[in-house]
Symmetry: C2
Subunit: 345 residues, 2 copies
């Protein structure tokens, strides 16, 4: 069933107004707010209809109306018109490119939080298909060697491996060549048991060491699985009375601190591919504690196969236009950052 144009306009006006004020909005307000030139009585009739259709609700009998989840949903899906204004500022803020990944991510989270006045999160990019590019074993001490592993996306991992036997330079060189010639270019899943046995055999005496190295490699890469999530602006929730009461605030803060909980958001989003911006409204959210919030997420792609998620969490009366716009900008920004990286090097 479709709403006629007038109902649409009224619903839109209600939502817009509520986004700003956070207060239930009454018929009189709308009567003046829109350019429809209708009296409050007429609006009241329409509002009764809209309520019956489930787009708005009344907190109590003699209060104005506020949008329901369904109302927000319609708004987000068909009535929003993004504006491209503050996009430029954002770009500038990001231009001071941070060289270290984690700094960059923290920076992004912060810029987003400051810019939108909502809580934000961003995950480090995950390596979907993670090919080995380079392995280097070095003897650091008599009894430990350092394994450095570089993957396709220029992500560097280290691991200290204790060894019982002392290895001479020549052996080290051999091992390095052995590992590099055999493993480079492989994704981690491709390193199977057969290959390992082969390597061990080739390494002769030092077969057990090879095992340890491979374990270290596997572990090192897997380590990313419990992924890093950076958050910022959690205190922003106090700016919205509907979230700021003790129970809710406490729950939300906890959710933000226990970052694992946020990973639901990520998983949910990952399946979708790089796709579009996604909006969860109220109960739609995959995280129970956020049922009074809206969440907007986007995936960004940082080089091939490395994908991360950005999320903005705020009250349901979130400024969807601004948030979606901002998120799109950041996404593009991050997507292109990697390209620039390549050029510079």
């Amino acid at each position: 069933m479709h709403l006629d144009e007038r109902k649409m306009k009224i619903l839109q006006a209600i939502i817009r107004n509520y986004l700003e004020t956070g207060e239930p909005v009454g018929s009189r307000t709308i009567s003046k707010y829109t350019d429809l030139n209708l009296s409050s009585a007429t609006i009241r009739n329409e509002m009764a209809d809209l309520e019956e259709l489930g787009y708005i609700v009344q907190p109590h009998t003699s209060a104005g109306r506020i949008p329901s989840d369904k109302g927000y949903r319609l708004y987000v899906d068909s009535m929003m018109q993004e504006n491209e204004r503050q996009v430029e500022e954002l770009k500038e803020m990001l231009v001071e490119k941070e060289e270290k990944m984690d700094h960059l991510l923290k920076q992004v989270a912060k810029v987003l939080a400051v810019n939108t006045n909502y809580a934000t999160m961003i995950t480090a990019p995950r390596y979907q298909k993670n090919k080995l590019k380079f392995i280097q074993l070095s003897r650091v001490d008599a009894d430990q060697i350092l394994a450095v592993i570089v993957t396709e996306g220029n992500v560097i991992k280290n691991s200290m491996i204790p060894v019982s036997e002392t290895l001479d330079d020549e052996t080290m060189l051999k091992l390095n060549i052995l590992l590099n010639t055999n493993l480079n270019g492989l994704a981690i899943e491709e390193i199977n048991l057969g290959m390992i046995t082969l390597l061990k055999a080739q390494a002769g005496l030092h077969g057990s060491l090879i095992g340890e190295v491979i374990d270290a490699v596997a572990e090192t890469i897997k380590e990313d699985e419990d992924l890093e999530i950076y958050t910022s602006g959690t205190n922003n929730i106090f700016k919205y009375p509907e979230l700021a009461d003790q129970k809710r605030a406490s729950e939300l803060i906890t959710t933000f601190e226990e970052k694992q909980l946020l990973s639901k958001l990520v998983d949910d989003n990952m399946e979708e591919g790089t796709g579009e911006i996604k909006v969860y409204i109220g109960e739609e959210a995959p995280i129970q504690t956020m049922k009074d919030c809206s969440i907007v997420t986007a995936n960004y792609e940082f080089g091939e196969g490395m994908r991360g998620t950005i999320g903005i969490i705020g009250p349901k009366r979130m400024d969807y236009e601004k948030v979606v716009g901002t998120l799109k900008t950041i996404k593009v920004q991050l997507d292109t950052l990697y390209q620039k990286d390549l050029k510079e090097e």
Copy 2:
């Protein structure tokens, strides 16, 4: 001026009681609470004295008394008696030793938070005198090399260095030897301009590369200066009504999120050396937003010259005995962890 024994006992009783309940405590309560067998009237007289001396205050005329900062201070300095009970649990929780530093630290913060019901923070150890142990340059691509730097405490740092010239294996080897023989065992401050010039000269054609590497080394080590701080249990502040009102909660949450602010705590503490446990009460805290809190900090030593700070932040009516005890345990635990590390390897 010294308090007589009875006043001491009464003050102690007031504080103990207030720590538990968070409510102002009246004369009648104390009359029953202590084994002094005094009537409430007598207590009242003594309390009037204690108030005049500044150890307790009255929120309003007809309320009981609560300890002032000065009162807490006296309590912490001379009346506390730690108890050694729950120490064992804690040890067990930490025994599952995490191999990765950041995991370990997060874990510690969490264990502390869960155990005490206060907010906690812990900094990664800082390298006071940070000697180079090993440098390794590897060619990863045609146009970039990877520098791996290992310092005395087995802390590993990476840095990608873009290069214009393509270097052959032999040159790489030479450079590695050059760097290692000259720089190993030096603290970063010891690498001065003269030395750099010397190295550059010795490197001949590749002098500029040396410069870049040294820069990378410097940068890499300096990077730690903006130190990592891990926090946990921030939501615990909601358990204490006196901190949980919106204004305060928001401020505190912000402080915890903007971890730089917490670094004041660290700096303040570092000067002191490894010393004792330190307690800030109310206004004593170096962070304005925490003037309604108490903060207990300790330094731990993770191997020689690597020092970090642990802090527990809670309401002024914090269970000082427990906190100090717990903190001591953790501190010892961390101190010894490094020793164990050495043995195992």
